[in-house]
């Protein structure tokens, strides 16, 4: 199923907005992670954890899910397909892995936010909040997003075995038609560079 150009542009706008929002929120989050890991003032750390939990649940996770869904729609609704090109497949796998780790980390962060908001806060609780895992997850997530961005911008060539079979079938079909005199033109899908173009010769 191929989307209309107008719908494709709209989905692309939503996809870019959510993906850029995800990266932006993750970068902002890094500032708070630095505050938590370098600060010894309990009040500051507790407040920062509270803000981190809010950003995580109400910005990062919704943006990640929106980017994932719109990415799925864009690939399935265009001739790129979901399993035809390696760069699309890698983007999908990395995004799914990233969201899985993000949700798992968010559950821990929720517990931390509850501890931070607890009036009976102790020094051992402060150690619990100053977990280096914040930095590992945040920097790892930003690295993953950077890799997916590079894949999406450069779109390195490379068809999967499934995509290759599809392309071969698409090339063979017009030849069959020509041979039997049922069509005057042949159509090929040129997958070099940008989006696949239907070439009529």
């Amino acid at each position: 199923m191929t989307m209309s150009p107008r719908l494709r542009k709209f989905m692309l706008a939503v996809h870019l907005t959510s993906a850029v929002g995800w990266i932006g929120a993750a970068t902002t989050y890094l500032t708070l992670v630095v505050v938590v890991l370098t600060n010894e003032d309990a009040r500051t750390v507790r407040d920062a954890i509270g803000v981190m939990a809010l950003i995580d649940w109400y910005v990062i996770i919704p943006m990640a899910i929106a980017a994932f869904i719109t990415g799925l729609v864009l690939s399935l609704g265009t001739q790129w397909g979901l399993f035809r090109h390696y760069w699309v497949l890698f983007s999908l796998l990395l995004t799914v892995f990233g969201i899985f780790v993000l949700v798992e980390y968010s559950l821990t962060l929720r517990e931390m936010a509850a501890v931070a908001a607890n009036p009976t806060f102790s020094s051992s609780d402060l150690d619990f909040l100053k977990d280096p895992g914040h930095a590992v997850h945040n920097i790892g997530g930003l690295g993953l997003l950077l890799v997916v961005t590079v894949l999406n911008v450069y779109k390195p060539r490379g068809l999967t075995r499934y995509g290759w079979r599809k392309q071969q079938a698409a090339r063979a079909a017009p030849a069959e038609q020509r041979l039997h005199g049922t069509a005057q033109s042949s159509q090929f899908f040129d997958t070099r560079g940008g989006s696949p173009q239907k070439i009529t010769s």
Partner: protein, 49 residues
Amino acid sequence: MADDMRRQDPPAPDSIPYATPLWVKVFGTIVSVVILLFIILRFTVFADH
């Protein structure tokens, strides 16, 4: 005429062997190692977190 048209046809689907691009092999190996390493560390060293 039919013979001429046959000569111009693209190769049959099975005649061109499929080859996985080099960047896919390299990148796929790196991604697999990183994900496996994460899973192993997550459920061993950092199991309590």
